[in-house]
Symmetry: C2
Subunit: 413 residues, 2 copies
Amino acid sequence: MSNYQVIPGGVTAPKGFQAAGVAAGFKPSGNRDLALIVSQTSAIAAGVFTNSQVRAACVDYCRQQLQKKASARAILCNSGQANAATGEQGWKDAQETVNLLAQQLNIADESILIASTGVIGERMNMTAFRKGIPPLVEALSDKGNDEAAQAILTTDLTTKTIALETTFDNRPVRIGGMAKGSGMIHPNMATLLAFVTCDAGVSTSLWQEMVQRATQRSFNQITVDGDTSTNDCLIAMANGQSRTPAITEPGERADQLEAMLTAVCQHLAKAIARDGEGATCLIEVTVTGAPNETAAQKVAKTIAGSSLVKSAIFGRDPNWGRIAAAAGRAGIPFDQDELQIKLGDFLLMEKGQPVNFDRDAASHYLQQAAQGNYLKDDTVTIEVNLGAGEETGTAWGCDLSYDYVRINAEYTT
Amino acid sequence: MSNYQVIPGGVTAPKGFQAAGVAAGFKPSGNRDLALIVSQTSAIAAGVFTNSQVRAACVDYCRQQLQKKASARAILCNSGQANAATGEQGWKDAQETVNLLAQQLNIADESILIASTGVIGERMNMTAFRKGIPPLVEALSDKGNDEAAQAILTTDLTTKTIALETTFDNRPVRIGGMAKGSGMIHPNMATLLAFVTCDAGVSTSLWQEMVQRATQRSFNQITVDGDTSTNDCLIAMANGQSRTPAITEPGERADQLEAMLTAVCQHLAKAIARDGEGATCLIEVTVTGAPNETAAQKVAKTIAGSSLVKSAIFGRDPNWGRIAAAAGRAGIPFDQDELQIKLGDFLLMEKGQPVNFDRDAASHYLQQAAQGNYLKDDTVTIEVNLGAGEETGTAWGCDLSYDYVRINAEYTT
């Protein structure tokens, strides 16, 4: 299935997409803080948004917009201010922002989606939008991915972007993506944002289903500190500019496209988990032997999110007990006498009981991961077999270090 | 309702209960590690146990036993070894342990309940039971509460014990309790244990209901790090030795007894939260304006368990944004424009938007709490009104400090 390859270009790799990022004045640092992704033609659009009861105005705006009309031309995203906890004024500011961009792009308000990330409880800096939007539109380019990816960051250490390519009937089909998020480092500067572009032709309903499933297998399976944000959002646009036959039904083509979409989302999700504040390594937890995929995902995410498992890995401690305890409390029934746990290549537990293993070598394995490079050789794998079925699920997290506490405690408002 | 007072004696304060604690050899340190609580006469007994799929043999044993017969004479508890992840052998060891004590006390096996806490995955040290049980029974005394309370500790910093007294028809009625737990400091040395004694006469079904509700309003509402254990258990015995009329129906008397039981459980639960590893203060979160008590409890616990809220409080940061974000993701519907948040006496948010408050004074309030004494003046209160109903719920937690990570990372197996 994975007959795709990595290509450069991020969200501008798919045909017919341009991007740009400028400094408009939302961030006191003067860094880039306003990003734009535009499709030359109308694209179908699917969104996934935070389930929080405390939501930013832009989240409510996009959700309403996509319910009315599942298509878009442009995504505008600012960083530095979240437009959350801003009440009625926040909603008006969101509408005005959309209108400002619509005039500049000379398209309808209804073709624009918006996202924000940053400090909550402050009224949006409308001057920054008024000042920033004209040069932003001016800067649009099919080489604009990196500037846009920078402009959506808050406290992230790195940009997170990828593009993949496959072929349908010898014609290239591409999906690109960018994301931000590194746990909630600064208070209220939470937020996972992801923007995906695709040049395949695909029906709206199929695309929406694919985006939901890919999100479930990627962004919904990462955990840095269990906190979710007022502004979380993923928007995925597909504009059909690859000129390949439209995919309107489930089947081989749809599966091929979905596999590539899932790979894009998983790459971005892992990059976010790895960029968790204070993290020294990525933790990948795969649960097998589950009664269904959802159950496997739930157990995997419980393990990846356990403060005790995360602390043990930071301490380079091959601690099967904490992994078993986390699996046990995930709410999925299994027979504890069937439980098997592996850490990297080390078998730690079999039939629900600990087995002898080389502790020094296992600790060394954890040590190695911490010395790996970013997104390379720095993954600690945990494999748990519940012995309760045939299904599999994966989750990603990072270790819990002193720096997590330092970063989160020492920021004072 | 709270017409009860604190009295000395812990679990031996209620009439007809004795206790003891000795060093039997489970702990390498040589500290007390075997505790016994005995009722002179048969007591009705109710238990609440871990929901984990990975459970200690003693948990399964007690659950089975109490299903057969809701009464007991004795609770035996060792610390140092958990008898979890020990398979069939663990079950046999549990049965043998019960039998050893039954012979020594000259009572039936069926009158004995057992609990363990400590390292998981090791076969129980049966020699320690054989050696320790005779002197343990010998040491039984109505002044034995403190020794027993010490003997159930693992990494706790302090014993946790309380007794309350009220009167029915001018006759004293007492409830005593002890507990252990301080988060999962050492790997696999998790576990919340609580033992409650009562000398009121009460029907089995009423007692079971009271114990369930009191647990829900106390132990189930504390969170140190979100991890639960293989061995968690609460056992509550009532032996009727106060010679007050048996409570067999709901009503004023039942309410009075339940209020006292709930107070005992809340005292112990708060002591555990305050003893969370690395904690510098207790956090008490009260949610009002909820559609029902369960919803209020869920929101309160989500806030008390948020790593970001906990880090902010450790950093003495009056961060309303993190509190609002945690409330929003608790899964309980409310209108964000009705949200009100108070920290101590400081109003931080009103109608879903931040209000001006004296940040220095609020930060000073947090600083003060950290300098408070153990269980005195060291409580940070957070009050959140959802504006979505009339019901209330409370949860307790502690702040997240560098020491949490140090304690959990630097222990290596």
